[in-house]
Amino acid sequence: MSFEDYKGIFVFVQQVDNKVNNVSFELLGKAKELAKDMETEVTAVLLGSKVSNLCDELAKWGADKILVVDDPRLEPYTTEPYAYCMNYIIKNYKPAVVLYGATAIGRDLAPRVSARVKTGLTADCTKLAVDSETKGLRMTRPAFGGNIMATILCPDHRPQMATVRPGVMKKAEPQAGRKVPVETVNVKLTDAQKTVSVVDIVKNITNKVDIQSAKILVAGGRGMKKPENFKMLRELADVLGGEVAASRAAVDAGWVEKDIQVGQTGKTVRPKLYIACGISGAIQHLAGMEESDLIIAINKDAYAPIFEVADYGIVGDALKIVPELTAKLKEAVAAKEAV
């Protein structure tokens, strides 16, 4: 294998129901930065059935070129047809880097591909950079439940592959109307790749909020004491136009649903404002929210680790402070509107 043959950064575009997952746009943004340092281009790899309408969006968010495989066997997602396509594309186009979102699809597909191509794969990265000397990819990820960070290299194998946590990388400035080359790849899928069959698809019917897209989050932890007390967080969030999130302790206690959990085993968030109420701040939690622009923490324990990342730490009882705060904010907002 000659390294010079392997060029370009490929991003696996995750689309479901003809909608591109946000993490794919984030990856295109990051790939654009990396491509500058590697002096190469960003190629979006779009797999699915009747998906070519998505190409303009990919160009807008940073793809320099798009490879499309359009085949009915790619809907809905199952592992083998996707792995077959990625393997075909890697063998024929020889990318230096392939990035996937660390989603329920990416974390299934990427390992299967890595074992087929026999290359390295770094999971759930939170930072990607180009080594200034070797031009290799430096992939940094949390390990040990978020207690330590490890920087991983893939020195002697190509492509270098990574899955990247959703919500961590920033999207590029959108360039509407940008046109880039689109190439349809004839992978020649057959029914032999249909090794499993999807007999039913059940979507979550609740209108669950996506805490990753919320600009303001009011999060509660063990210090909220009981599920009823999350109501006061909801009220505070409503005044601010935000959403409610929670620590693992509150989820494990059964007070709130897991889909609003922030942290290593939950979601990574970076809102403009994060108000942590009664959250002590286990390292696993901090890993999921410390990139927030402004962090306000309310906790009774002056030595709680949450204060290590808070811009403003208030030592006090969240159960008493939050209702006061909601009332005062209502007044302040009303006063502003009256002007």
Binding site: T78, R107, S114, A115, I296, G316, A332
Partner: protein, 265 residues
């Protein structure tokens, strides 16, 4: 039906603490446990055994002390246990690990037909979720990840496969590999009789380097495409201002003032 469940012994990362002075991990006194997702996978296998009858083999790759999780699995109801252990396997990343485990499963597969392989989705020390799908790739069988439920009917396994916003009901012909989510069930406790048998009667069979049909370049550090260049304690962004206001009223005033300063309200 023969089911193989892959289990890993892991440090309980929930109990890992950082030394506040040096910022390094305090490893002493951190208990080792059976990885939670793997334990859920074992419970799913035990339920299949309860309902339809199955022979359950547990397999773990690790140092000699990983024997403990295999005994625990037998005390819960597994029938057979193999420890895949050798210094030659040390330093393996996920690719070399999955190659080693797949080779061990091929070896076990010579003595019995393996119908279903269950692994946990991911281990709490590495959180990669890679080894399950990679084992399936090496064995050339389908995999279904993120199982919320596993049912078997004849030669077909039906899996409730979880995604972020939906689940798929997926059917696959066995042999097949399924990765289990930790919250799919509540694993049973070991039984007193089971504990007695696991430690007094049953044996944990060992599989070492010489038992496996693999090249030296495929296992251990040599077989690992990835390298850890550096590891470091997580750097936190640093403390801001901490205040202890006199009462909830003053605290609320303080926060409102900060939010006004930052133009959030």
């Amino acid at each position: 039906m023969n089911i193989v469940v892959c289990v890993k012994q892991v440090p309980n990362t929930n109990e890992v603490k950082l030394d506040p002075k040096t910022g390094t991990l305090i490893r002493e006194g951190v208990p080792s446990i059976m990885n939670p997702d793997d334990k859920a996978g074992l419970e799913a296998a035990l339920e299949l055994k309860d309902n339809t009858g199955a022979h359950i083999t547990v397999v773990s790759m690790g140092p000699p002390q990983a024997d403990a999780v295999l005994r625990e699995a037998m005390a819960m109801g597994a029938d057979d246990a193999y420890l895949v252990t050798d210094r030659a396997f040390c330093g393996a990343d996920t690719l070399a690990t999955s190659t080693t485990i797949a080779a061990a499963l091929k070896k076990i597969g010579k003595t019995m037909k393996i119908d279903l392989i269950i692994t946990g989705r991911q281990a709490i020390d590495g959180d990669t979720a890679q080894v399950g799908p990679q084992i399936a790739e090496h064995l050339g069988i389908p995999n279904v990840s993120y199982a919320q439920d596993i049912k078997v009917d004849g030669d077909t396994v039906t899996v409730k496969r979880q995604f972020e916003d939906r689940y798929h009901v997926v059917k696959a012909k066995m042999p097949c590999l399924v990765t289990a989510l930790g919250d799919m069930n509540k694993p049973r406790y070991m039984t007193p009789g089971g504990i007695f048998d696991a430690y007094r009667e049953n044996e944990v069979k060992q599989i070492t380097r010489k038992d496996l049909d693999v090249e030296d370049t495929q296992i251990g550090l040599k077989g690992s495409p990835t390298r850890v260049a550096q590891s470091f304690p997580k750097q936190l962004k640093g403390k801001g201002t901490i205040v202890t206001p006199d009462g909830a009223d003053a605290a609320a005033d303080y926060i409102v003032a900060r939010l006004e300063e930052k133009f959030i309200i």
